[in-house]
Amino acid sequence: MRLRVEVRLKPGHFDPEGDVTAKMLRDLGFPVTMVKTGKVYIVDVESDDREEALRLAEEMCRKLLANPVKDDYSLEVLPT
């Protein structure tokens, strides 16, 4: 089963990379008011069970992919 794990900063957390990117885009003439950055992981797991796969992904985030002090995450099962 293929999963999409998106890790991004929690709301209200300062995102320097996003801010710099926004400034750069404005410099290029785009009417940009906000940019938030994050990371996307595409993960294949050995499981055919949707719930099972999501549970594994949840644990991956807890154990490695996200730091709960600053990160939120969202999970999605992708069609294969």
């Binding site: 300062f14 995102d15 320097p16 801010d19 710099v20 154990k63 490695l64 992919l65 730091n67 002090v69």
Partner: protein, 265 residues
């Protein structure tokens, strides 16, 4: 008393790159230091050492988050031994990437090892790598790493990192740290006043200008600045103008020696 019996283990893994200068600093103050790769740690016992250092670098390319992969790797490979190591009052020092590792492994600021970090070292507020000399104020001089310093003393040590902005989960967590005297170093202005987040004195935007913290017991410390780069006089940024004999970073290593000398396992 001789320090012959005391040994330090400087750990490294792919991407670690400050292991050599860190072990030189240890050896200069008389502590026998061995650089050991994580691939070979299984053949060794951590408990043969009295100090474990996680040095600076870009372990595993800092992929996922700085220090995260090595941090988890430590949990997988060394958890039980490291818990005992800390419990017995032996010393753990994390510098720069090593600090990030200790935080990601849940060893700092908490007591013991945990799967869930309770702090973070986030991207610098300048959104870039910062290599510069900063001023640090000693907030707690009663740890094994700071006993050769005065409280309130200002140290000159360089930083070099892109992810050093210290964050806690909450205000309450920060208050806990203050109350437990776990904040060891803060970034300050040259005159010793608080930086209050002012760039570049606080080079990364750390909460409460935190540059280094320890666990409650004080035997585990992590810091973003690099004391091994401010060890010899000739490494200092003011070199060339009434050259100083030694750098402020040396005091951390000398403190460790003093601690070893006074404490008998």
């Amino acid at each position: 008393m001789s320090l012959n019996g005391f040994k330090a283990c400087v750990l490294r893994t792919g991407g670690t790159n400050c292991d050599l200068e860190t072990s030189i600093a240890l050896e200069e103050v008389g502590i026998k230091a061995e650089i050991i790769h994580m691939n070979r740690i299984e053949n060794k016992s951590l408990l043969d050492y009295h100090l474990v250092v996680f040095p600076g670098g870009f372990s595993y390319g800092d992929y996922v988050r700085a220090g995260a992969v090595w941090g988890k790797n430590v949990l997988v490979k060394l958890r039980i031994e490291l818990e005992r190591f800390i419990e017995e009052g032996r010393l753990v020092l994390g510098i720069c990437n090593g600090f990030q590792v200790l935080v990601e492994a849940g060893i700092l600021p908490g007591d013991g090892v945990s799967e869930t970090p309770s702090a973070a070292l986030a991207n610098n507020s300048s959104a870039r790598y910062e290599c510069r000399w900063v001023w640090l104020r000693v907030e707690n001089n009663e740890t094994p790493f700071t006993m050769m310093m005065e409280k309130g003393e200002v140290l000159r040590i360089p930083v070099g990192h892109a992810e050093g902005r210290f964050l806690t989960r909450s205000e309450k967590d920060l208050e806990e740290l203050k109350k437990n005297r776990q904040i060891v170093f803060r970034y300050v202005l040259p005159n010793g006043d608080c930086a209050n987040g002012l760039y570049p004195f606080n080079p990364n935007g750390s909460t409460y200008d935190v540059a280094g913290i320890c666990n409650r017991k004080g035997n585990v410390m992590g810091m973003m600045p690099h004391p091994e780069r401010a060890f010899f006089g000739w490494q200092l940024v003011e070199w060339g103008k009434t050259p100083p004999e030694r750098g402020d970073g040396r005091k951390i290593f000398e403190s460790i020696v003093k601690y070893f000398r006074e404490r008998i396992y």
